[in-house]
Amino acid sequence: MSDSATQHHHHDHHDHVESRSLFSSHDHDYSGAGRRSLIAALVLLLVHMALDVVGGVLSGSLSLLAHAGHMVTDAGALIVALAALHYGGLPPSTERTFGLRRLEVLAALFNVVLLWTVASSILLQVFEVVGHGHAHSHEHLGIYLLVIGALGLIIHLTSAFILHRSMHHSISVEGAFRHVSVHAVESLAIIVSGILVELFHWDFLDWALSLVLVAVILFSTYRLVIKIIKVLLQAVPDDVDVYRLCSALEDVPGVTLIHDVHVWALVPGYNVLTAHAIVDPDSTAEDLMRIRTEMLKTAREEHGIRHTTFQLEFSAADCHEENHHVDHLMALSREEAGKG
């Protein structure tokens, strides 16, 4: 964190603080974690993934492949976190006035698309297996599941330990722990089904388990996708109530009306506000400065806005804008209509 902080004086204290943003729903919070522990966790994850894939191919186990698929998310998320740490800190330019902060969101989207591809290919395989019986599965399927499940459990516990150490004072510990525990449970499920398959030859357990793991993958991405699409649509972030924000801004003495207000998030947690405000035409230069300062304070301290641009106007005719997207007045009448 500190090495990149020096390169650009504008970006010193806030740039990496909210790298957590997108992944907070997924309970990843890498902001406090050092680059090195991220890389260590990534290497462990990749090793485990490779084990799963090799074991899955050798034994024909779909649940091992499905588990490997789930770890693609995690590996992806770790890589994304690393990349976002790197590129997100690059200074803005005349080509990208917001820098590459948004890259984090697109990378998360890529991650999700990759996961869905994996999930659908596993589903296709399950259908094939169910259709043609269990011709592909190895005679020692149970052993494979048992061994690789156990190795996975060890690896998850190790990476939990590593992440835990470097995120010692971070709120992300809880999230990371919950995530790792999901994997540990998955590994346990694989071990148990391995035992059952070996003892009773319940080979169907393998593909049934893989279906469950695919369901877990899809479920874990659902909320993330909603979040990503909202950001890309320039939608108002969930934590901002534009209506209340407008009312609060209009409560600033000297402000008559807020119109043409826009709130969006560059990345989750970094909210941008632009608004046109009609102010008392008799305002002096000092008044204007005070009004702006108060508006800024209101937006920032009470409504979680990080970046503001207020256009102060003296009369409605003063605004030359052709579009008035969300007009405070417009929604007032809508709400009143809704009550009636």
């Binding site: 504008h10 080509e95 035409p281 400065m289 702006r292 641009t309 256009q311 052709e322 579009n323 969300v326």
Partner: protein, 347 residues
């Protein structure tokens, strides 16, 4: 542009009286019509050309399916499958176009204009999948050369070529400056190139029995598609990353703004695209402290005129400040001064 009665009454508090109600209605009415006129023409044209292309492709697809079922030809059915992906991409573009017209709301202050760009993203990504499929097929054919029915292939290929060329001509004009239509167009072009490959390799198979030509052409074509897909993706990414649109030189824009009388310097300037035909400018402008209310009004008008006239920026929000301390923003993303000093430092 504003209903002034609503303004004068507004300051009497936030009990949101009837004046607001009335004013709001009048207001909504005015803007509901005024602002999108030019826009609507273009978007209407896009919609019509997409619909025409869809009808062309869907008709041909149905003919292929019927012909394929009657004759039992797998290649006809396979080509119908290609047409289906084209049709799907056009339908996606149409759906995005439809929903992007939804009005702005408290949850979406920019409405749904971005949907068009997201549709283009989906179309570009599905092209990537198609490229993968084509390459995989070419690889398989290199290993085990399939029996090719040269004559039938030639016929299907020619017919597909004609349909795709027609669809391309229909879409080409609307695709300029509209990523959504461009995404659909690229699917058509990809299919068109595929048809060319079918015709050429069909002819060569008929004439000389060169079955190897088909997989080789497939590879060449997937590279061509790949290049144009990459260009589309780059444009989409620039929009989604909130990058400065290609036609705007932010440096020049800032310089032009600073040339306006009374302006000291421009900072925290951002230009980005909501959709390719809708660009947004926000900037903080430091002005001379002795300016009066009237001067500020005038200056804001000049700024907006300049932005609109020279750069076609559709939505402008400028914050005029009297002192540098007046700006309390914690982040100064792009600082004009900063850039100057960076330029002056020898690389």
């Amino acid at each position: 542009m504003k209903a002034t009665d609503s303004l004068s009454s507004h300051r009497d508090g936030h009990d949101h009286s009837h004046h607001h109600h009335d004013g709001g209605h009048g207001h909504r009415h005015v803007h509901g019509h005024g602002h999108h006129d030019h826009d609507h023409d273009l978007r209407g044209a896009s919609r019509r050309s997409l619909q025409t292309a869809l009808i062309l492709i869907a008709t041909f697809m149905v003919v292929e399916v019927v012909g394929g079922v009657i004759s039992g030809s797998l290649s006809l059915l396979a080509d119908a499958g290609h047409m289906l992906t084209d049709a799907a991409s056009i339908v996606l573009a149409l759906v995005a176009l439809h929903f992007s017209d939804l009005p702005a709301s408290w949850e979406r202050t920019y409405g749904y204009r971005r949907l068009e760009v997201l549709a283009a993203l989906v179309n570009a990504l599905s092209l990537c999948v198609i490229i993968g499929g084509v390459l995989w097929e070419a690889y398989r054919r290199l290993r085990t050369v399939p029996e090719v029915e040269g004559g039938l292939m030639l016929g299907i290929g020619l017919a597909g070529l004609v349909v795709n060329v027609l669809a391309m001509l229909v879409l080409r004009r609307s695709a300029k400056g509209n990523l959504n239509v461009e995404g659909a167009l690229q699917h058509i072009v990809a299919d068109l190139l595929g048809s060319v490959a079918v015709v050429v390799s069909g002819a060569l198979v008929l004439a000389f029995g060169w079955t190897i030509v088909d997989p080789i052409l497939s590879v060449v074509i997937s590279i061509l598609i790949g290049v144009s897909t990459w260009r589309l993706l780059a444009k989409v990414f620039n929009v989604l990353l909130q990058g400065v649109p290609e036609h705007v030189d932010l440096y020049k824009l800032c310089a032009a703004l600073e040339d306006l009388p009374g302006v000291t310097f421009v900072h925290d300037a951002h230009v980005w695209s909501l959709a390719p035909d809708y660009d947004v400018l926000t900037a903080h402008i430091l002005v001379e402290p002795e300016l009066q209310t009237e001067d500020l009004k005038l200056m804001r008008g000049q700024v907006q005129e300049l932005a609109k006239r020279d750069y076609n920026l559709r939505h402008v929000t400028v914050q005029l400040e009297f002192t540098a301390d007046g700006c309390h923003d914690e982040v100064h993303h792009f600082d004009h001064l900063h850039r100057l000093s960076r330029d002056e430092v020898p690389a």
